[in-house]
């Protein structure tokens, strides 16, 4: 995400980080907002070129823990034998433990809150000049609900997503798949549509596709989602997609 002042914010640090880093030129500062420390959300971090550029300041934000700092937890991955460098070798990088709450990054208001997913997991709401982007890549708001959704008060992620111009949301499973994977921390298409409708977003981007779903299967699923005739726009999350909010 690029803010109005040109600040680059990166949402999570998955496998796309290497390509992103290779295409970032003369950036003075990058902020990386990590939702949680499952491998698919941090595996690209060591390969992000600005991390190794002493002229670029990198701020990494992630969920707080009761036992270790974010830096200590990431050091378990960013250290030998898994990686040749250690976190302490990255003098241009600062790590920030993020409790639920709101903070400011160069005029962008960032609200972080815990959401329903195994292990402490944050969702992010980014607001600037009245426009809102909400990022909930791993989210199972229907967990344990008999009839989802019930009310905003008892729905994980509601405050983060309410009225968002763009909601980027977990869309991992078909309804049939979800019934076999309850508690794994992800959403079914039906739950996704219900959540987006409840939160009254303008645009829903499906995201965190199941790796076992082929492009053809995803295309067919999106056709079915669009055919449900929702009040909001539904767009598929794809590599290289650009949105102006």
């Amino acid at each position: 995400m690029v803010g109005k002042k040109g600040r680059l914010l990166v949402l999570d640090a998955g496998s796309g980080m290497r390509a992103l880093g290779a295409n970032v030129e003369s950036v003075e500062r990058v902020d990386v907002l990590i939702t949680h420390l499952h491998m698919d959300h941090i595996q690209g971090l060591p390969f992000f070129a600005p991390l190794h550029d002493p002229d670029t300041r990198v701020d990494v934000w992630g969920p707080i823990s009761t036992t270790q700092t974010l830096k200590e937890r990431l050091n378990r991955y960013l250290s030998p034998p898994l990686f040749p460098l250690r976190v302490r070798d990255l003098s241009n990088v600062d790590f920030h433990d993020v409790p639920p709450g709101t903070f400011d990054i160069d005029g962008i208001q960032v609200t972080a809150d815990l959401v329903s997913h195994p292990g402490p997991t944050l969702g992010y709401r980014l607001e600037e000049a009245g426009r809102v982007l909400t990022y909930l890549p791993d989210h199972e708001p229907a967990l344990g609900m008999h009839n989802f959704p019930k009310s905003p008060e008892w729905t994980s992620g509601y405050d983060l997503a309410a009225g968002a111009d763009l909601l980027i949301h977990d869309s991992q499973y078909t309804d049939e798949e979800y019934s076999q994977r309850i508690g794994w921390g992800h959403s079914s298409y039906t739950h996704l549509l219900a959540f987006a409708a409840m939160t009254e977003v303008s645009t829903l981007m499906t995201f965190h596709h199941d790796p076992d779903h082929s492009d053809q299967k995803l295309d067919e699923a999106h056709e079915r989602l669009r055919a449900t005739g929702q009040d909001y726009e539904i767009v598929p999350g794809t590599h290289g997609a650009i949105f102006e909010i």
Binding site: P63, I64, S65, T66, P99, P100, G101, T102, T111, D113, L114, V115, S116, P120, R125, E127, L143, G144, M145, H146, P152, E153, W154, T155, S156, G157, Y158, D159, L160, A162
Partner: protein, 132 residues
């Protein structure tokens, strides 16, 4: 950002409580009753859907409570009040009168709920009927 939603820890706690067969009672950080489960309804003498959430001030006197010998229990000594005000677990055996008019002897254990980042979120209490 307007807040309409409970913290996710409380949402997940409610969902867990709704599945359990032990009576459970939940209050938010201000002492408002936000939920009790179906198992608790039998002891409290009223269904949660019939009373709904209750503000802290409504709870005072909503259920008559005494010690097992019938003497009064000071409010500050009641387990949920201790967990709420001192933020530490508390336990006590009491008699109380459900909204169905029945007096029951119960043991009450209350726990403060603390979320990540040291956020105090409320109180969870469980109770069970004992021989009077």
């Amino acid at each position: 950002m307007a807040h309409q939603q409970q913290p996710v820890e409380m949402i997940l706690l409610r969902q867990l409580a709704s599945y359990l067969a032990i009576p459970m009672w939940m209050m938010d950080e201000a002492g408002n009753l936000i939920y009790y489960n179906e198992s608790a309804e039998g002891l409290l003498g009223v269904q949660f859907d019939d009373v709904g959430p209750m503000a802290a001030e409504q709870l005072v006197g909503a259920w008559n409570v005494t010690q097992l010998d019938g003497s009064p229990v000071p409010d500050y000594d009641f387990p949920v009040v201790v967990a709420l005000s001192k933020r530490k677990p508390a336990h006590r055996a009491v008699r109380f009168q459900g909204m169905d008019g029945e007096w029951r002897a119960v043991e009450v254990t209350a726990l403060p709920i603390e979320g990540q980042g040291g956020r105090f979120l409320g109180v969870l209490a469980t109770f069970w009927e004992v021989e009077d």
